[in-house]
């Protein structure tokens, strides 16, 4: 569809003002405030969403650049009655405190586990060729763009490992 982008399966017209970031478009124009703004400069990961299957910082890109793209936000991953496995694991492992970095952590982790499954190496990998395991070291390296000032890291890693171990990626 021209002049539209698709958010959680629903098409929306692109904003008029070309300055609108994808993050502000989601939060202000669409009212999808699950995606958070922590810095607006690509430094914290709170705004992480999944675009065409890849995680990005939505504050670092303009909405107008995503014509026809598929955007998945935290609202598209699961709802309270039907949470995604990662959402459930975050609650169980207390992978958050204030909850402000949490949607970004969960979107990031969702796409990150796919990256591991798809054999993408990281700085923590011993070789460049997969397969890779979702080890503590791999998760920590790959999740380092998602800051958590509450310091829930130890529990976030536990939650992600729990999901990685219980549902090996297809």
């Amino acid at each position: 569809m021209p002049d539209e982008l698709i958010v959680n399966g629903t098409p929306h017209p692109l904003p008029q003002d070309p300055r609108v970031t994808l993050l502000d478009f989601l939060r202000h124009d669409l009212g999808l405030t699950g995606t958070k703004k922590g810095c607006d400069h690509g430094q914290c990961g709170a705004c992480t969403v999944i675009v065409n299957g890849l995680r990005i910082n939505s504050c670092l890109t303009l909405a107008a650049m995503h014509e026809g793209h598929q955007v998945t936000t935290i609202e598209g991953l699961g709802i309270a009655d039907e949470p995604s496995p990662l959402q459930r694991a975050f609650v169980e492992h207390d992978g958050f405190q204030c909850g402000y970095c949490t949607p970004g952590q969960i979107c990031s982790a969702t796409a990150m586990l796919d990256e591991i499954a798809n054999g993408w190496p990281s700085d923590a990998s011993e070789t460049l060729d997969g397969p890779f395991e979702a080890s503590g070291a791999e998760i920590r390296e790959r999740m380092s763009g998602n800051l958590c000032r509450c310091g829930a890291y130890a529990n976030i890693v536990a939650a992600i490992r729990h999901v990685a171990e219980s549902e090996p990626a297809a």
Binding site: D17, R19, V20, D24, R27, H28, G31, L32, T33, G34, T35, K36, K37, G38, C39, D40, H41, Q43, C44, T73, I74, E75, L77, G78, I79, A80, P83, Q87, R88, F90, V91, E92, D94, F96, Q97, C98, G99, Y100, C101, T102, P103, I106, A124, G136, I139, R140, E141, S144, G145, N146, L147, R149, C150, G151, A152, Y153, A154, N155, I156, V157
Partner: protein, 729 residues
């Protein structure tokens, strides 16, 4: 009906332990957890408000002086711009915690670089942001203002001063002594949610959704700033994306949004940029600290000296209380404790997680490591030999004291090796490996609090209070306390927080939230129990409530007979706060590796053992400890506010340049929750745990760096350059 309990005596009955629901202390998952992980929990800026316009703050680009002219036209001429607000009531600093009055106003007088001076309001955020950048402001700068703390301009904070005996003589007579000086850099709270507010004015009443920790104080501060009576203001903070002290007081964006909303008669949202949060909100003061420790041949302290220099803006009362736990942690009859405050023109210094101990304990505990080495005593043993049996300065009894248990249980869980210690015993490739430990201490605070509990006719409960949950777990512990007392599962208790229309508590700060509001909920529930016992014609102490039934099998719904039972609990700490010295205690253990060539330090593993009274929820309490330990890693290795020495402006004002720990900096962490009931801490025998986890942890890392590679560093954070410079060949 309101029930008032003033606690003059320790609550030794431990009634919570006699209840039957079995939920208190259990690792219950957060009751608001699903809302947070699905992105549906609304934070301050996220309420859908019809017709809301956007405000962006403009901040000063000089350090000190006055504004001669603001050219409003320069912004008003731009598309979508509605107003330039430069009202004299705009606040220029955040209020200090519990200030209960407006902070500094008069935006035309500039006291620091980055001070908010005006608000530009436009139809869209993009328009307001652009116009704020283009607003033309003319200044008249004053001559140079001091921007570095200098001892020559510092004033002694006399109520902190202790001079007993003759410390100089104790030092020269001592079997072993250390006299060392440390520096610590300033820190930022850097809560992930930037400060934000939406203000709505209906011509009579002002409603503000804001990100605040202490509504009970914030409403008075806002009322004072606006000159609007409190009963015409409502503050709402249901979800707060982290506070760590930065949201204790009313801050600039909430006042600016309120003024704009009242002037324009439209709802106004103001969200600070990350840079503005860094530049216009609290910093933790940098410190310079001299530690003097003298001990006898057995390592028993005879002299104790701790002097600190901190800074703040002129007009601010707050002086980083560096010596807070030094007053009682260790003995030493010859004592000298002195705190000095220098007035400088950097942004406001105020509370950042664990004000005082956060920087006082890491230096003291690093100095203790030097002493342990000189005396040839294991560092754990040195601490065990120096636990006073009463408060060494005022002679008060401790309400409860778990340092020894924390040291022992922590050492055991960590696998502490008490063999004689010497640096550079272990090397793996380029890396030296070593261990270190430190004590933890954080004073206990508790305050007056009110909460209303309704046991509903349908057999569920509702708890209402203005108390906030800033990630600390308030929602869940309140549901657990009410559930335990009333025989309900936590999910049968609806907890409604963060609304100034509710009964007031002290808010979240100083780790006093849980013991204070928990006690108010307890008092209300106890009154409900008494009413139920009356109905049954038994004594309250004989009343058993579990699974929504009384002990005789009667369902709560039947007992209530179709009516709600409402009680307001009003808890007030009485003589307990005068009669005892209460504190949380703990011990940290760390293993680090230090790169021989680069001086880089990585934490391999870390453990904290903590005693903080009754654990209300083992899961959320552990998380608070994990958070504190994570902050300890940041303080030890990376966190430092850097100021331009010429104009005092903050150079690293964002999350790329101010380095909070990231995933890869934080290894697996262990927490040992040491069993304790502190009957003189609160009526529920609980103390706070939000801050203890970072009160000394950085020293465990510093001491491990020395044990690993032989580098004694006296400046925090211990960055690679500093470690390398101190590294022996």
């Amino acid at each position: 009906m309101s029930v008032h309990v003033k606690q003059d005596k320790p609550a030794t009955d431990n009634r919570l332990d006699t209840m039957r629901q079995g939920v208190i202390g259990k690792p219950v998952s957060r009751i608001e957890g699903l809302a947070k992980v699905t992105g549906t929990a609304p934070y301050a800026a996220e309420y859908p408000v019809e017709g809301c316009v956007e405000g962006v703050l403009v901040t000063a680009t000089i350090t000190r002086g006055t504004i001669v002219r603001i050219d409003a036209e320069s912004a008003l001429a731009m598309p979508g711009v509605i107003a330039v607000i430069d009202d004299e009531r705009l606040t220029t600093r955040p209020a200090q915690g519990t200030a209960n009055e407006a902070p500094q106003q008069k935006p035309r007088t500039i006291c620091y670089w980055g001070q908010p001076i005006a608000l530009v309001v436009a139809e869209s955020f993009e328009q307001a942001r652009d116009a704020a950048r283009h607003l033309v402001v003319e200044y008249k700068p004053d001559e140079a203002a001091p921007v570095e703390a200098d001892p020559s301009i510092a004033e002694e904070q006399e109520d902190e001063t202790v001079r007993e005996g003759n410390l100089d003589k104790a030092m020269s007579d001592a079997a072993f002594a250390v006299d060392v000086t440390y520096t610590t850099k300033g820190h930022a709270s850097a809560a992930m949610e930037p400060h934000a507010a939406i203000a709505q004015w209906d011509g009579e009443r002002l409603t503000v959704h804001a990100s605040l920790q202490m509504l009970n104080y914030n409403i008075t501060e806002l009322s004072d700033a606006l000159d609007l009576p409190e009963d015409r203001i409502r503050l709402i903070s249901r979800y707060v994306g982290g506070g760590f002290g930065s949201k204790l007081g009313i801050s600039e964006e909430a006042v600016a949004a309120s003024i704009a909303a009242m002037q324009l008669e439209r709802p106004v949202r103001v969200v600070m940029s990350r840079q503005q949060v860094f530049q216009s909100i609290m910093r933790r003061s940098e410190t310079t600290q001299r530690l003097r420790l003298a001990c006898d041949a057995d390592g028993r302290l005879t002299g104790f000296g701790h002097e600190a220099l901190v800074s703040n803006l002129p007009g601010e009362e707050f002086a980083e209380p560096v010596l807070q736990s030094s007053h009682f942690l260790y003995p030493g009859e010859h004592r000298e404790l002195v705190l000095k405050l220098a007035r400088i023109h950097r942004m406001t210094a105020g509370s950042v997680r664990a004000p005082g101990e956060a920087v006082g304990m890491p230096t003291l505990e690093a100095a203790m490591d030097v002493l342990a080495e000189r005396a040839g005593i294991d560092p754990v043993e040195l601490r065990l030999r120096n636990i006073p049996d009463k408060d060494p300065e005022q002679g008060l009894p401790f309400s409860s004291h778990k340092l020894a248990e924390c040291l022992r249980q922590g050492a055991e869980a960590f696998g502490w090796d008490s063999a004689p210690r010497r640096p550079r015993l272990r090397r793996e490739g380029e890396w030296w490996i070593g261990t270190g430990m430190a004590s933890a201490a954080r004073v206990h605070n508790v305050a007056e609090a009110r909460a209303r509990v309704t046991l509903k006719a349908d057999g569920t409960a509702l708890v209402e209070t203005d108390m906030t949950d800033i990630g600390t777990g308030t929602y869940t512990i309140v549901a657990q306390i009410a559930g335990e007392m009333l025989g309900l599962r936590p999910d049968q208790v609806l907890v409604d927080l963060g609304d100034s229309n509710h009964p007031r508590g002290p808010g979240s700060g100083g780790s006093w939230g849980a013991p204070s509001i928990g006690s108010a909920v307890y008092v209300a529930c106890m009154a409900i129990r008494e009413a139920l016992a009356d109905t049954l014609g038994i004594d309250e102490t004989a009343l058993v409530l579990a699974d929504a039934k009384a002990g005789n099998g009667t369902p709560l719904t039947e007992l209530l007979g179709g009516k709600d039972l409402v009680r307001e609990g009003h808890y007030e700490p009485g003589k307990i706060t005068d009669d005892y010295l209460a504190s949380g205690f703990g011990a940290f253990f760390a293993e680090v590796r230090v790169n021989h060539y680069t001086g880089e330090t990585r934490v391999n593993r870390m453990l904290g053992a903590f005693g903080f009274g009754r654990v209300l929820n083992a899961k959320t309490a552990r998380s608070q400890c994990l958070g504190g330990i994570t902050w300890s890693i940041g303080m030890a290795l990376t966190e430092a506010l850097e100021f331009d020495p010429r104009d005092g402006h903050l150079v690293n004002r964002d999350l790329a340049e101010y380095h909070v720990p990231v995933h890869r900096d934080v290894p697996d962490l262990d927490v040992v929750l040491v069993e304790e009931r502190d009957a003189a801490a609160s009526i529920i025998q609980a103390k706070g745990i939000g801050e203890l986890g970072m009160c000394g942890g950085a020293a465990a890392i510093a001491n491990a760096i020395y044990n690993a590679c032989g580098a004694r560093v006296f400046d925090y954070p211990m960055t690679p350059d500093r470690v390398l410079a101190a590294m022996p060949d």
